[in-house]
């Protein structure tokens, strides 16, 4: 699926180039320097071979990196995944450069004429498309999101599994594939949980009655984090507390060794903590409906 969405932009780009270049080339035949070079059988075969090679290389890179990244140690997984967009970009640049060199006379004047025509055509007809491509290139260097990162873009949260010319592919915790165009980068905030690292912070909330022994709850939460086999002990563990009308909220912030374990980690923390809470008979909040209503009203007033 991701494969199709990645190859489509390249074909579209070639079509656009052809559509823009050909009329210009016909006009230029009256001038001394033609934009379009002579099309021979050899060049045509070379072009087809180049496109097939590029197509095959991208396919191979995608398959190979997807396989290899799951076989190697965690430390190298993200490194391999993050190399995919660069490798694909490199192949694309080499192929397009070769095709342009084969079919166009790229002198200084021709280049100016060509880029001018392209700018007008793309600016009007394919504004969003070009915007996505540029955003994709910017994001590649800005690293707002990379393959393997866990990000929230708009309403969608998941692991970045594909990085195309026009869009990025996420796999959500429900195992759905979501394709999001890069140009959302210009307007939407992007929340990245791990930014190229293996670890991502996991926040786990527990709620208690106001009368609960806060020291005991905090101690149990710390120990739940330290005792979990998923916890990255090299990174800090923190418990913060917040008061509400209906009870006390405790938030445990800790890092699993692998961001992919996010949900199983939270479950493990909660199960460990709940066993200990039950052992100590800690009271959960039991708010009256009136308090809930009050709390809701307050939160509505707080919102701008």
């Amino acid at each position: 699926m991701g494969y199709l969405s990645l190859t489509r932009p390249r074909w579209l780009l070639l079509l656009i180039l052809a559509a823009v270049i050909l009329p210009g080339a016909v006009q230029a035949e009256t001038t001394k320097q033609r934009i379009l070079a002579d099309v021979t059988l050899g060049k045509s075969i070379g072009a087809v071979v180049a496109v097939v090679l590029a197509y095959g290389s991208i396919f191979l890179i995608e398959q190979l990196t997807a396989w290899l990244s799951e076989k190697v140690a965690r430390r190298y997984r993200l490194l391999i995944k993050q190399s995919v967009p660069f490798l694909k970009g490199l192949i694309l640049i080499i192929t397009v450069s070769y095709l342009l060199d084969q079919f166009l006379n790229l002198t200084q004047n021709n280049l100016l004429a060509l880029t001018g025509t392209l700018a007008v055509a793309l600016g009007f007809a394919f504004k969003d498309y070009v915007s996505s491509i540029i955003a994709g290139v910017v994001s590649l260097f800005e690293a707002s999101y990379r393959v393997g990162d866990r990000v929230r873009i708009g309403d969608h949260y998941g692991e970045v599994v594909g990085y195309g010319l026009r869009s990025v592919q996420l796999v959500t915790p429900d195992d759905n594939n979501v394709t999001i165009p890069h140009n959302l980068l210009w307007t939407d905030p992007i929340s990245n949980a791990n930014s190229g690292n293996l670890e991502a912070q996991v926040a786990t909330d527990v709620f208690f009655d106001h009368k609960v022994d806060a020291d005991l709850v905090v101690e149990i939460l710390y120990q739940a984090a330290y005792s979990s086999q998923y916890t990255q002990l090299r990174l800090p563990v923190l418990v913060v507390m917040e008061e509400h009308l209906w009870g006390s909220q405790f938030k445990l912030r800790a890092y699993p060794m692998d961001a992919r374990d996010e949900f199983v980690y939270r479950t493990d923390l909660l199960m460990r903590a709940k066993r200990a809470f039950a052992l100590h008979g800690l009271a959960y909040p039991n708010p009256s409906p009136a308090l809930f209503q009050q709390a809701n009203q307050r939160s509505c007033e707080d919102q701008p």
């Binding site: 965690r74 190298y76 979990s228 086999q229 090299r234």
Partner: protein, 289 residues
């Protein structure tokens, strides 16, 4: 106060006990803090084991103003990685600070020490941790000499090649006698020239690790932290029901990565060097020396 650290595959308790068995210093009485080496069967009782001893009165010296040596050669057996599982260690930390009139001799596996340092900052209280010295080729040869007598005699280039072999064994075993000894046993072959009764030593090598999944790594990491463990302790520490853990334990036993003796699971020493690399590459903390 003295803490001796060793690798998880090299139990230090027998070593300390052997040293203390000959202890006969008239100036200082020696006492073992715990009567047994292993954790109690009930995992909930593990932290209580040390707490109970420390809550009572500590063994006295021969007279009131005399110092006493208190030994705890198996610190890794006194905790479990579970909520309140290292309560006994916290208590020990506190008592050792209060009772400066006792000389504390602790033995611990380096992974357990690293874990306790993460969760309890134990090295701030016991900074004098010493590492068990690495065994060298010559010492290894002398140690194994009594059982190596039946080996085929070395050839003409014998002495030098023999010394090189022992050095190689010590190096592959990273200076750990248990690893080196197991590699040595793995390298024994029937000598084709000497009939069926003669053995010869081939070039030693570390065994390859089988392909592991994440569940295996968590299990092995837990085993390395705790040294040796019963199955129910392992399940308790990992927060999993036993029936979910058993298939992976059986698989690891089948692959020869772990071994079971008297109901206690432990990592096979010869796999330890590769396992350390494997776990470190997968973002686990390691306590290798």
């Amino acid at each position: 106060m003295l803490i001796v650290l060793s690798r998880p595959v090299e139990p230090i308790a027998p070593l300390i006990e052997a040293v203390l068995s000959g202890w006969n210093d008239p100036a200082m009485a020696g006492h073992a803090l715990l009567p047994c080496r292993k954790r109690p069967v009930d995992p909930e009782a593990v932290p209580l084991m040390l707490k109970a001893v420390l809550e009572g009165s500590l063994p006295p010296g021969r007279c009131d103003d005399e110092k006493a040596l208190l030994s705890l050669p198996n610190l890794e057996q006194c905790f479990l990685r579970s909520i309140d599982g290292w309560g006994g260690i916290d208590r020990l930390r506190q008592v050792a600070l209060e009772r400066r009139d006792r000389f504390w001799l602790l033995g611990c596996n380096s992974w357990a020490w690293k874990f306790l340092d993460h969760v309890s900052q134990i090295s701030s209280y016991f900074p004098e941790a010493r590492i068990l010295p690495a065994v060298e080729g010559a010492a290894l040869r002398d140690w194994l000499a009594p059982v190596a007598t039946d080996l085929a005699p070395a050839g003409s280039a014998g002495q030098e090649a023999d010394a090189e072999l022992w050095c190689q064994l010590a190096e592959l075993g990273a200076g750990c006698s248990r690893i080196a000894a197991e590699l040595w046993v793995r390298g024994l072959r029937l000598d084709p020239d000497g009939g069926s009764q003669t053995l010869r030593q081939v070039r030693p090598s570390l065994p390859d690790l089988p392909s592991l999944i994440d569940d295996d790594r968590y299990l092995l990491h837990s085993l390395l932290i705790h040294g040796t463990m019963r199955r129910n302790h392992l399940a308790f520490g990992l927060g999993l029901p036993s029936h979910r853990l058993q298939p992976r334990i059986q698989w690891l036993l089948g692959e020869g990565l772990i071994t079971e003796s008297a109901g206690e699971l432990s990592v096979r020493p010869s796999h330890y060097p590769c396992l350390v690399k494997e776990l470190a590459s997968n973002n686990f903390f390691t306590g290798d020396l």
